[in-house]
Subunit: 208 residues, 2 copies
């Protein structure tokens, strides 16, 4: 599309907006024309929020989660259990786990998963810093909370090997049927694993 | 969705982004996390382009198209034919017509169409200013380039009535089969109108 813009300012805004993922020039133009009709205060607030986002957010020195300070709110909190570390792929996964309300430990954000096809090796991830944290000896349990995919499994196994020498309890998320799912619609691999890893019935009454 | 944000700056950016049309909180979060991974210069450019958009763009005193000055580039151009005025619904339609490369006159942007259901009457639109432009007597032809919908037809007819007393040529866009369309896939109303408004075969060789 080679739109003839009558305004340089508009064209510039459309170009910048269309750099966002999933937003083409048509959508960018629609967004820009929408913004033109809004209150100036509201549009300025959006622009400033975007600028502040990248300027004011850094990464926590401890767990590599996003943070506005050197150490994030979770790592700095005395109310959290600092002897339990949950290893996750990214910042979004921290939010997902926080939203469950079932976890009171701290995190370690890897920043990705091992994926040789995409050229992501262990050295591109925050694995060395995880080993270092564990080797300090202040941690009782490391929970591997990675996706149940080839990359997740590879990363799990790599971390398992690296932490082999450390005296730390290593656990991973339970895998099986989703809560609320019917047997009929559960895929066969998951169903097979759920059978193999069946647990005593009384365990299902467990709560945190 | 009640995401637990670990950062106030992130939450603020997500809230502002999700005010955009078609962007919910999930997409806003995805965009924000994308921006966090980008170069700071690039993100600042986006924020500033948005702020400038609303601050620096105003509307042309003559045609009500968007402009960075009191009078837009088209109205100010001595190369355009100022005796032909094309009446369009909005700014986007100006761009669409400019993109055809077939028009060298000036524009008049109504800012909408008459739509009693949506509470839009003639007074909410730039119709009085159009009549005023025509009454000055410097215009030879007014081209009605509005959508072929109920609202477009209503607005066309209203303008036709308002300009009735003026000595000006009033035309509207040709309606008929789309170029490249097959008879089989042309809807019946359009096909019927194309039959009724058939033109001499030699006219199809006309070019601008």
């Amino acid at each position: 599309m080679d739109q003839e813009f009558t305004s340089q300012v508009l064209e510039n805004a459309v170009t910048e907006l269309s750099r966002l993922p999933g937003i083409g020039r048509k959508t960018a133009l629609r967004l820009a024309l929408h913004l033109l009709r809004r209150d100036e205060r509201e549009v300025t607030a959006l622009g400033e929020a975007i600028i502040r986002l990248r300027r004011d957010i850094c990464y926590c020195r401890e767990c590599h989660n996003i943070s506005e300070n050197d150490v994030c709110a979770i790592c700095a909190s005395p109310l959290r259990d600092h002897r339990t570390v949950c290893v996750v792929e990214n910042v979004k996964d921290v939010m997902s786990i926080e939203n469950t309300g079932q976890y009171n430990g701290v995190y370690h954000v890897l920043g990705g998963l091992i994926s040789p096809i995409d050229g992501i090796g262990p050295d591109s991830l925050e694995i060395a810093s995880l080993v270092e944290r564990v080797e300090k000896g202040d941690i009782d349990e490391v929970i591997l909370a990675l996706s149940s995919t080839m990359e997740g499994d590879t990363t799990n196994f790599y971390i398992f090997r690296r932490l082999g020498a450390c005296e730390v309890k290593l656990t991973q998320l339970a895998r099986g049927m989703s809560i609320g799912n019917e047997i009929e619609y559960t895929d066969e691999v998951t169903l097979g694993r759920s059978l193999l890893n069946r647990v005593p019935f009384t365990d299902s009454f467990k709560t945190n």
